[in-house]
Symmetry: C2
Subunit: 344 residues, 2 copies
DNA sequence: CTGAAAGCGCTTACAG
DNA sequence: CTGAAAGCGCTTACAG
C-alpha cells in the first residue's frame, strides 16, 4: 500500500534507529563522508527502497538558498524563446537549479508584479528577456540587490550583465549581402527603438549603408510598433509608401519579415523576384516558408547557456562587476534574397 | 541605501512595535480582518514602504503547500506548447500558483529523474504532456499519490484525469473534407502508436475511411517514428513508395505535414495541384507556409486552462475520480487542399 | 563518527 | 483584538 504522506528525515531515522541528523548527512553527497561507510550504506539503501526525497524547500529555508531562478519572458509565444530556455535549463540543471519561467508581457507594471511573485518565492536571481534600454524593472532589481542578467536585450547604462548578439555585425552582413546582390534601394524595418535590439540593428543598418557610401536616396528606415508579424505587415506598408522603387528589405526580426511576406502576398509582389527580404533570429521553421527566409542566425541556445552561467556566477559573487557577452551571429542565405529586378 | 538582506516578519514587527504574528495576519488578506483596522493599515503602509514580501517558501513549509505545480513537456521546441503553457499559467496565477516547467525529453528514465526533482521541490501536482498509452511515469505518480493530469495525450487505462482533443472527430473532419474534394486515394501518416494521439488519430482515420465505404486500395497508413519534421519527411517517402497514385495525405500533426512539404519540394511535386496535405494542431505560423496549411485546430489555450483547473481541483480533493475532458477541434481549410489532379 | 540543539521564516491553535 | 508558543523539515555548528 502506498504511503499517504511524504517521508521525512525523522521517519527514515526512526526506521533505521539513527538520529535524523545522520540521515541528513548521508543524503547530502557533500557531507556523506562524515558518516561511517556501513551506516551510510544502510541509510542509502532504505532511502532508496522507500523512495525518500529530502524536502528541498525545507533545506532551502535553512540554507537560505532556494535553488530557484526566475526567467522573465516578454512573450512565450515567440519561437526564439524555446531554444533559449533549453540552454538555460541545461546549465541550471547541472548546478541543481531549476528555472521558474513566467510570461510577463510588455507592460512594466505587470512585469513588476510578476517579479515580486518570484522574489516572494525566493528566487536567487533573475534572467530578464524583457529589458528595455532604460528599464525600470532593472532599476528595481539593482536597488533590491537581486542578481539579474539580461538576455538578448541589454540596457544602455550597462549596470548589469547581459548576453547579446552582435547586432552591428549582423546588419553589416545583411547589407553587404544585399549590396553584393546589386540592390541599391534598401529599406529597413527597425524594431522598437526603446529596445537595444531595435536601436542597435538600426544603427548597424545606418553604419553599413554609410560604409557602402550609399546616397541618402538609396535607403530608408521605418520603425515597427512591436516585434510581431502584424506590426511588420503595417510597417512594410508604410515603407512602400515612403520609399517607392525599393528592391530589398532588411527586417528587424523574423516575425517582422513574416509580416513583410504577408504584405507582399496581399499586393501581388513576388519575393525574391520583385523584392528581397532578410530576417533576423533564424527562428524555427523560417526555412519552411516560401521562399525560405534569408536571415541572421543568432546562437540562441548558447545565449541561454551563457546567461545562466553568468547569473550563477553573480549569485556566487554578488559584488562582481557586470560583464557583457557578445555572441557572433551568422548570415544564413536562403531563397528570399536575389538580385534586384532588371530596371526597364 | 538599499538593504542587504531580505526583510522578515520579525524585522517589520520590531519596527512597528507589534508582535510578528500580528504582521503575519495582516499580510494574509484572509486573516486581515482579525486585526484592528488602524493597526492593519499601519502595518500595510510600512510593509509597502519597505517593500516587504513575505517568504512564500517558509509559509509553504508551515502550511504544507508550496503553491508550485510541475509541468512536464516532451519537447519545449514544439510550438504547440507555448499556447498551452500560457493557458496553464493564466489559471494557476489566479489561484496564486506558479508552474515550474521542465523539458523532460522522451526518455522515461530521464522523465522519472526530472519528476523526482520536482517532487523534491514539493510541487503539489503535475501536469504531464509526456504521457504514453501505457506510461510508467503515470504509474509512479499514482503510486506516490501525486496529483497529476495529462494534457493532450491520455493513457489507455484512464486512471488519471486528462484533457484531450477529440481525435476521432478531427480525423473525420479531415477525411470528409478530402473526400468531398474528390480524393479517392488517401494516405495517413500516423504519429507513434504508443501515444494516444497517434493511436486515436489513426483509428479516426480508419473509421472515417470506412464510413465513406472506401475500398482497401483507396487508403494507406504508415507510421512516423516521432512527431517531427524529419520523421514526417521519411514517412512521406515510405508512403509514396507503398501507395502509388496517392492524391492526399492526412498528416498526424503539423510537424509531420511540414516534413511532407519538404519531401514534395525535393521531388518536384506541387501541393495542392499534385497532392493535398492536411496537418493537425494548427500550430503558430503554419498559415504562413506555402501553401498555407489546411489543418485541424485544437483549442490549445483552453487545453492548458482546463488541465490546470482539473489539477487544482484534484489537489483540493485528492480522492476525486479521474475525469476526461474532450475538447472539440475544428478544421481550418487553407491552401494545401484542393481537388485531386484530373486523371489522364 | 554520532547525537542533541538551535534556528531558517512563516502560520495558527491557544490564551488572555 | 493581540501575544506567546509550537512546529513545518531541514542543516550545521557544537559536544562528546
Amino acid at each position: 500500500m502506498p504511503e499517504r504522506k511524504r517521508l521525512t528525515l525523522k521517519d527514515l531515522a526512526a526506521e533505521i534507529n539513527v538520529h535524523y541528523s545522520t540521515v541528513s548527512r548521508v543524503m547530502n553527497p557533500a557531507t556523506r563522508h562524515l558518516v561511517a561507510d556501513d551506516v551510510a550504506a544502510r541509510i542509502l539503501e532504505v532511502a532508496e527502497a522507500r523512495g525518500f526525497r529530502p524536502n528541498r524547500i525545507a533545506a532551502g529555508l535553512r540554507t537560505q538558498r532556494s535553488g530557484l531562478v526566475g526567467v522573465v519572458l516578454p512573450d512565450i509565444a515567440n519561437p526564439v524563446f524555446p531554444p533559449i530556455l533549453a540552454g538555460i535549463e541545461a546549465v541550471l540543471a547541472q548546478q541543481g537549479y531549476v528555472p521558474i519561467v513566467v510570461n510577463a508581457g510588455l507592460d512594466k507594471v505587470r512585469q513588476r508584479f510578476v517579479i515580486d511573485q518570484l522574489v516572494g518565492r525566493q528566487v536567487e536571481g533573475l534572467l530578464l528577456a524583457t529589458a528595455e534600454r532604460e528599464d525600470p524593472i532593472l532599476d528595481y532589481c539593482l536597488k533590491q540587490r537581486i542578481p539579474a542578467v539580461m538576455i538578448n536585450r541589454g540596457e544602455d547604462a550597462g549596470r548589469a550583465s547581459c548576453v547579446v548578439s552582435d547586432n552591428l555585425l549582423a546588419m553589416r552582413l545583411t547589407v553587404d549581402h544585399l549590396v553584393a546582390l546589386g540592390h541599391r534601394r534598401i529599406g529597413h524595418i527597425a524594431g522598437p527603438a526603446a529596445l537595444s535590439t531595435g536601436y542597435q540593428r538600426r544603427e548597424g543598418f545606418l553604419q553599413a549603408v554609410r560604409r557602402h557610401r550609399l546616397r541618402r536616396e538609396a535607403w530608408q528606415v521605418v520603425e515597427a510598433d512591436s516585434y510581431s508579424r502584424e506590426a511588420g505587415r503595417q510597417a512594410c506598408a508604410r515603407l512602400f509608401a515612403d520609399f517607392p522603387g525599393m528592391t530589398a528589405i532588411a527586417a528587424g526580426n523574423d516575425l517582422i519579415a513574416m509580416g513583410c511576406y504577408d504584405y507582399l502576398r496581399e499586393h501581388g509582389l513576388c519575393c525574391p523576384a520583385d523584392i528581397s527580404v532578410v530576417g533576423h533570429n533564424d527562428m524555427p521553421f523560417v526555412d519552411a516558408l516560401t521562399p525560405p527566409l534569408t536571415t541572421v542566425r543568432i546562437p540562441v541556445h548558447q545565449m541561454g547557456e551563457d546567461a545562466a552561467r553568468l547569473l550563477l556566477q553573480q549569485i556566487g559573487a554578488p559584488a562582481s562587476p557586470p560583464v557583457t557577452v557578445e555572441l557572433v551571429p551568422e548570415l544564413i542565405v536562403r531563397g528570399s534574397t536575389a538580385p534586384p529586378p532588371a530596371p526597364h
